[in-house]
Symmetry: C2
Subunit: 217 residues, 2 copies
């Protein structure tokens, strides 16, 4: 039995479980977003800003995925939302089974949005469907404007690109215009928002878009 | 046959090939460093600064590893050094076999240093020995100071930590002191340098350390 056959079987099994998760989200009308990015691009910061914006308005639950520690779960739990931390113990991505296990800790009825913050990794999580409505990729301006070309699968599989840390642009050798162009070259369907979690710029626009998606679900 | 058995076999085979590479580097007295980090932490920028520093002094060769594109090879080739680009076509890390294949493109005799720039990924490349003398992990201040705790294996397996983008500290919610403390908590043996590829700060100190290592080989 070859490694490729094993990998295919792992992915097939994952897809089956992802379909079950998707069914569960559909039944409970939960809009589910799989947040993916490099380490330190600001997935947790975007979540914090989003939770702040929707406090008392939407019921948001969160699954945090990390190789180690529950630091991110601690950060978002301050906003009083239900949160479950998955520690992958060395594994480089979340899988549908881990998400399914985590779901038993939530009251799904009445939940409007579920954010799944994946392990910080711009490669491996692209291959794993978790049952989400969409992948949202965050790219920080500090990483440079060439990342969509170098890690194309993630940008191809995502529906939304959040360009984060736009407040740092004056100090960087990064062009938002080039970053946008490179991202759209890989995936012309990408919805793009520019945000800063430090100044709050662009967060309102992103949240309005999200609210619209939630109401359509 | 389980997935775990397959993975172990892949790693065993990799270790055998890594040992062959190591033998080759030893025979030719080449100091070899495996550069690892998140995407966009500045691996290529550190290489550029290092090449600039050693121009006409040391014979440096470079292997670039990327999921897609040869953008990084184009950048470093401007410094007139031998460079081979490995495109992994979706794979999230370099393996010893790929490095071994690339070596046939270099004249090893007379080479002082070989830098292997791994795929931007703070998880998977930690598990793969390429035959290098040491892994050098780059962490950018823009990623925050908690990364050693969240991605411990990479910091545990590295010998050197380059803290990059220190010029951006005034604009960030990141403490170099906390970053150092977290890194040393995971690996008390880490040699740590603070650098900025934008201002050049700290590059001299890092290069002096490297030159010393090369002369000892």
């Amino acid at each position: 039995m070859s490694v490729i056959t094993i990998e295919r079987k792992v992915l097939e099994k994952n897809d089956e479980l992802a379909a079950k998760n998707r069914e569960l989200f559909k039944k409970n009308k939960i809009f589910t977003a799989n947040l993916v990015s490099s380490p330190g691009s600001g997935k947790t910061s975007v979540l914090e800003k989003t939770l702040e914006h929707f406090k008392g308005k939407l019921h948001i639950s969160i699954i945090e995925g990390d190789v180690q520690t529950n630091l991110d779960a601690e950060r978002v739990s301050k906003y009083g939302v239900p949160v479950v931390q998955i520690v992958t113990n060395g594994s480089c991505h979340l899988e549908a089974k881990l998400v399914n296990d985590a779901l038993s800790n939530f009251k799904l009825e009445g939940t409007d949005v579920l954010f799944i913050e994946n392990v910080g990794n711009l490669v491996c999580p692209a291959a794993y469907d978790l049952g989400e409505d969409m992948k949202i990729v965050i790219a920080s301006t500090t990483e440079g404007d060439d990342k969509p070309l170098k890690y194309p699968r993630m940008f191809l599989n995502a529906s939304v690109l959040l360009i984060n840390k736009i407040d740092l642009i004056p100090y960087l050798n990064c062009s938002i215009e080039v970053l946008r162009k490179n991202a759209l070259q890989i995936n012309p369907e990408l919805e793009i928002f520019e945000v800063s979690c430090t100044t709050g710029e662009g967060i309102g626009k992103w949240c309005n878009w999200l609210e619209n998606k939630v109401h359509k679900k």
